[in-house]
Symmetry: C2
Subunit: 399 residues, 2 copies
Amino acid sequence: MMRFEFFNPTRIIFGAGSVEQLGDAVRHYGKKALLVIGGGSVKRSGAFDRAVSSLEKAGVSVVEFSGIEPNPRLSTVKRAVSEVLKSGCDVVVGLGGGSVMDASKVIAAGVYYEGDLTEMFVRAERKQRLPDRALPVVTVPTLAATGSEMNNGSVITIDEGGERLKTFVMAEVLYPRVAVVDPELTVTVPPDFTAYGISDILAHVTETYFCNVEEFPIQDRFAEGIILTLLEWGPIAVRDGQNVDARAHVQWASIVALNGWIQAGIRLLAPVHMIEHTLSALYDVPHGAGLAVLNPAWMRFALRSAPGRFAKFAERIFGVTGGSLEDRAVEGVKRFEDFLKTIGCPTRLSELGIGDPDDATLQQIAEDTLKVRRDREGRLPGYPALTKEDIIEILRLAM
Amino acid sequence: MMRFEFFNPTRIIFGAGSVEQLGDAVRHYGKKALLVIGGGSVKRSGAFDRAVSSLEKAGVSVVEFSGIEPNPRLSTVKRAVSEVLKSGCDVVVGLGGGSVMDASKVIAAGVYYEGDLTEMFVRAERKQRLPDRALPVVTVPTLAATGSEMNNGSVITIDEGGERLKTFVMAEVLYPRVAVVDPELTVTVPPDFTAYGISDILAHVTETYFCNVEEFPIQDRFAEGIILTLLEWGPIAVRDGQNVDARAHVQWASIVALNGWIQAGIRLLAPVHMIEHTLSALYDVPHGAGLAVLNPAWMRFALRSAPGRFAKFAERIFGVTGGSLEDRAVEGVKRFEDFLKTIGCPTRLSELGIGDPDDATLQQIAEDTLKVRRDREGRLPGYPALTKEDIIEILRLAM
């Protein structure tokens, strides 16, 4: 019988035009905001000006911090922490995609973190030291993908000491106080990145679904509900980016896919994300594109040990019937991969523009992944747990 | 396009045996707990002793307040508020079903409420004055039904000034800080009340589902997921009360049915609950039993104006296909009513042991309901909005 604790205190303000309410939301938490952004697309789209205008109208002054990378780096986060300490900001606003929001959370916690910031992150070889205090964070997503706007996680690339290790932290103090979610801010996202976002959302759901090994039935139904909605509305958002209804449904999917609602009672292990993190740390490929390649490959590997669960997935999501359990399991994965292709995602490593990795690279990806997380037997946790050789086999299945 | 705000800060500690963690949960919020209970079943089941022992072990002293009625009355709540003021309790623990938890919330807010406590509640003829402060509340449900353990609502019967009006309040300060949810505490609930609880949960979900008129697709899928789970596990919980897995699935269903997750983006109007509140204020019938009678009757009435939505319900829940849209809509309601019958719920007024109401009583039920809530045209809000005559027709459809 499942046992769990659930807690998510983030307030959501959702709807077209809600960015106008940003200032009102932020002024309860601070008077001087560090406004964290990425490479400048929010300036081109007008989102930045609207956010600043709303903040200033509410009496909140703004210090801009730009330049968060697509796979955000700890060195950049550290520069932002210095900026907060120098300028005296008392609240952090993250306006952007998952990278910007993830970085904002660590900036907010970094202000109070004593000692080396690298110790905040999961790493197999040593004990993690969680942050216990953070400035208030308000998130404003401009992409439907990571769900970072309403969760307590952050994925960061450690780029110091000659290495490049993409790892993560989850801590209660990292929950944003408010997420201002305006689907209109996502209408300028191009079709390819819209599709990568959908791939990311789907991976959050499938990684949860295939970890529901104790059979917690409502959680399965919720997960299936998100996938079915994405199959219906995802292609519309890709094809017709201006369709705000489709954008809203995909955005809500991204939030509920990783805000803990479908994870309650399930030990989320996320092996596909772990392998993808290594891949995108190495090649800087978009996270959702990497997942579209690795997720079906992992499924082809994992269905051998849990054909029943994959057959259920095939039946409930794609209405697959007939044949043996194994036949249905295989067919479900095939249809899942087909869906990713139809929305324009790559599903093979060669389509990522990085060529097929050679043997040494395969070894490195597997080893770097296990540097972040491994169980006592040295395997990557998951169902099934993965040895180094298993990870390499999954990568080969993605070729 | 939907717009909404969502916020639910209640922490859930879920699992068999979790009542042992009650003291640890409460001591963060206070040192002296008012332990609110109902008529004594928690003493017979041993839950009371386990709760007290856990509280005392954590250094929390306990003041008992017993005697909350099944349809809790304001006069009783007021006595409890006096008890808190006299004894100096700084936290309120509600151990029981929905009545006890609802009463606990209003007790906690009543301590700080200035002026007449009746003004806290919804009433058509005057403006409601919401509470803005409350003592911390911790809930420990012993019945899977109302979902009160993780929401900000409370249903109270005003029993003063010669009237008996069952009404409600929803306010942000009423969210419990923690819900300690131990499905083992529900194994002693007899089959009839287990079934009434399931009827209540189903009504929360169907009232939400039939208010999703702007077509917010994930919310439909989530709602359907809860119903499908109850159809599968509800009968097992009724038949085999000792099955802790079944109890856990029904308990989790009760929580997610009314903690805002499926209501996000939907204006919940709950006309069936409104009519049932009047019925149970008048006759003191169990809330879930009253709902089992009124919900299918309301559905038979409402499907005339929204056959498409009811046909979708029939298809997705019961796999009904073929025939006209109207045929499928009618068939879905019939199957829903049949399910309630199979778990032992009454589905007609005459089965409630109150006889069929006469014309004067029908008039009174309709009028009392509209005293709590009515729109500018004097109708009970819902899809469709209901005139006094409509409410009487629904009651007749329940005969």
